[in-house]
């Protein structure tokens, strides 16, 4: 379970997130929706430790942790970026095995076996030796998901998972996220596509642009 209590984040004198709290239960999906500029990406960046909050607490399974400084491999929060940010010079397989081998110190063989399982699971079985530029947007996104999952995260976060894709793929993404939920994955999904967000959500969080800025 991920609990966030009273977090506040400002850029200069503009407060973007003001005393926000949320809870995501294990295996559930939290959808974060709101208009452009409301601070959805900023919130996600705070949760994933890419921005430092000014105040507030984070708890994973009741244990406090600071995503910004946390380097332990136990409370990992995985991220699927809006434009995926795959490593262009590495093959699909290398993209997935890099962190498990270098950070989790898995053996090359073990990491590869694990990666191949993930690829098969995400319908990417034949693409392990290709480079990101050789893949479609939807395939790239699934590689990004596989890469994040290989680190065995407690929570997997997505920023606008439908925005960089063909609208026809929206349902594919829905299915994929729900199937990961069926496997027990806890997920946070930022979107401004309300229907999409409602279809997948166990809980919804509406964020509004902060008035006080």
């Amino acid at each position: 379970m991920l609990e966030i209590k009273n977090i506040t984040k400002s850029f200069g004198d503009r407060t973007i997130i003001n005393k926000l709290s949320l809870t995501v239960k294990d295996g559930e999906i939290l959808s974060i929706v709101g208009p452009s500029g409301a601070g959805k990406t900023t919130l996600l960046r705070c949760i994933t430790g890419l921005e430092q909050v000014d105040s507030g607490d984070f708890l994973v399974d009741g244990q406090p942790f600071d995503p910004y400084t946390n380097r332990s491999n136990d409370s990992v929060i995985g991220v699927v970026f809006q434009n995926f940010e795959l490593f262009p010079h590495l093959t699909v397989l290398q993209n997935i095995t890099l962190a498990p081998t270098m950070v989790l110190k898995q053996s090359e063989a073990a990491a590869k076996a694990e990666a191949n399982k993930l690829l098969a699971r995400l319908n990417l079985g034949d693409h392990g030796d290709q480079y990101p530029y050789q893949l479609s947007g939807g395939q790239q996104q699934r590689v990004a998901i596989a890469r994040a999952l290989a680190m065995k995260p407690n929570v997997l976060c997505y920023d606008e998972p439908t925005s960089a894709l063909d609208p026809n793929l929206r349902q594919e993404v829905e299915k994929l996220i729900l199937s990961l939920k069926a496997d027990g994955m806890t997920q946070i999904v930022v979107s401004h596509d309300l229907t999409f967000a409602e279809n997948i959500a166990d809980e919804m969080l509406h964020v509004e642009p902060n008035q006080s800025k």
Partner: protein, 213 residues
């Protein structure tokens, strides 16, 4: 023909010296340039400032002046370098400045998303630089580095001024002694050969990096 075979050994030994200076300068200045460029993009202001000054100094004054300064100037304040070492010292410092600027440009063209994606995968700074950043920078900078490398072959003839027996000097000596153009033409041919081989090698390296986009 007979004359050519007579002067060729001395020209070739001059070409050997040119090659030595060329290779040692590359071996010294490429890594040094890389280290300097990491300083240029670091957040430590005084360091940035210092390296910027260094680059400005090295690129803003003629290499010929720097050579003369090291070999004829420094002894006046008690720092004496033998000829060959003086030449390498000046060339390495000078070329490192050019390479630092090229690498800085390459480093800055790597999208911040690549660093963030490495960060959420828990890669350390060193791992990120080695595994993610440098391979991508290398591909970007190969053409500009290649230009400098070709320049270096020709610039190496500047060592003539501090009395090192390189290719140019060998040709010049023969021309003055035998009052014929042949040695100078041969010198030109040898330089052309050196640059042709180097260009070929650079193309091969470029090709090796063309497997991804």
């Amino acid at each position: 023909m007979h004359y050519i075979s007579e002067i060729l050994p001395s020209l070739l030994s001059g070409a050997g010296m040119t090659l030595q200076i060329f290779l040692w300068t590359l071996i010294g200045s490429l890594p040094l340039g890389l280290i300097l460029s990491l300083g240029l993009i670091s957040k430590i202001k005084p360091l940035q400032w210092l390296i910027n000054f260094y680059v400005w100094l090295m690129r803003g004054t003629p290499l010929l002046l720097q050579l003369i300064f090291v070999f004829y100037g420094l002894p006046l304040i008690g720092i004496v370098f033998p000829r060959y070492e003086a030449a390498l010292f000046a060339f390495i410092l000078n070329y490192a400045a050019y390479f630092a600027e090229i690498f800085r440009g390459g480093l800055q063209s790597i999208d911040n998303g690549q660093y963030e994606s490495a960060r959420v995968l828990r890669l350390s700074y060193g791992q990120t630089i080695r595994k993610i950043v440098i391979p991508q920078v290398v591909k970007i900078v190969i053409p500009s580095v290649g230009n400098e490398v070709i320049n270096l072959i020709k610039d190496s003839s500047l060592v003539y001024v501090i009395g090192i027996g390189d290719l140019l000097r060998a040709g010049n000596v023969a021309t003055a002694r035998d009052v014929t153009l042949v040695p100078l033409v041969l010198v030109a041919v040898l330089y052309l050969l050196l640059t042709a081989v180097t260009t070929f090698v650079l193309r091969r390296i470029e090709k090796r990096y063309s497997y991804w986009k």
